[in-house]
Symmetry: C2
Subunit: 152 residues, 2 copies
């Protein structure tokens, strides 16, 4: 299995759980936040989806972008599906050599690192915020929540 295929499996073992959580967020809870200084649920979801897509773009030496404008009203599950598909596509395009290529992230991270390491950092970021979202979704009244990682 290539490195990118391995990483896609690992990524999806968390992303599929994220997408299950997103399915549980009713429209009236899109603006829910646990405290006045917390990020709103929909902003947190967008931040997670956009970040991994950005990391996958940078790993491909492409300009990071977003699939939706700030004001777009596309429901979160549809966004999640599109971001997931496009992110997998970008990672799939990386050869084992591409994974070793140093990418320009000095401004963001203080140092340049290999594409593969950037993807791993990106996934840590996603796991962190998904952990937060678990608390949000429980506070929205859901008590039947998935395990934090897909059961193999």
């Amino acid at each position: 299995m290539s490195r990118s295929e391995q990483f896609i499996n690992y990524f999806l073992s968390h992303r599929e759980v994220l997408n299950e959580l997103i399915e549980k967020i009713e429209h009236e809870h899109y603006t829910y936040k646990p405290t006045p200084t917390s990020m709103e649920a929909q902003k947190l979801v967008n931040h997670i989806l956009e970040s991994m897509y950005m990391f996958a773009n940078i790993a491909n030496k492409q300009q990071p972008g977003k699939l939706y404008e700030e004001e777009d009203s596309t429901p979160l599950p549809e966004r999640a599906k599109n971001y997931t598909d496009k992110t997998v596509e970008l990672i799939h395009a990386l050869s084992d050599e591409d994974m070793e290529e140093i990418v320009d992230v000095k401004k963001m991270l203080g140092r340049d690192i290999p594409a593969g390491s950037l993807l791993h950092l990106g996934l840590d970021h996603e796991i962190h915020h998904k952990g937060q979202l678990f608390v949000y979704v429980r506070e929205m009244g859901h008590t039947e929540l998935p395990f934090y990682i897909r059961n193999e």
Copy 2:
């Protein structure tokens, strides 16, 4: 740098942030939980500390154990310091070859995997629960929180 040294750096880049969060939890908030079905703050902290210590023990082919009994009243920051020290010690004892050794975790994970992979899974588990703890600590009234990973 050996694989265990690399892993210790990676582990501490998250554990030090966890320990900063733990320092912020006042004694009266030890039993705080966001919803009736959530885990109490002190139980969540103990679960994080005990899990990584357990994974490091298994990676060393030692019997997993706990440093404190359930009823022990040692303050959380002191527990965190001791668990962190002992966990680092255990990981430090692993040679590069030990990291490749298959360890017996079939009952827990459904398959046996190399010690190094078990440690990585353990850290994902810690990042997930640390993400949850960030929400708890903000709900306790703290608005000045660290970044989710130690800034290099």
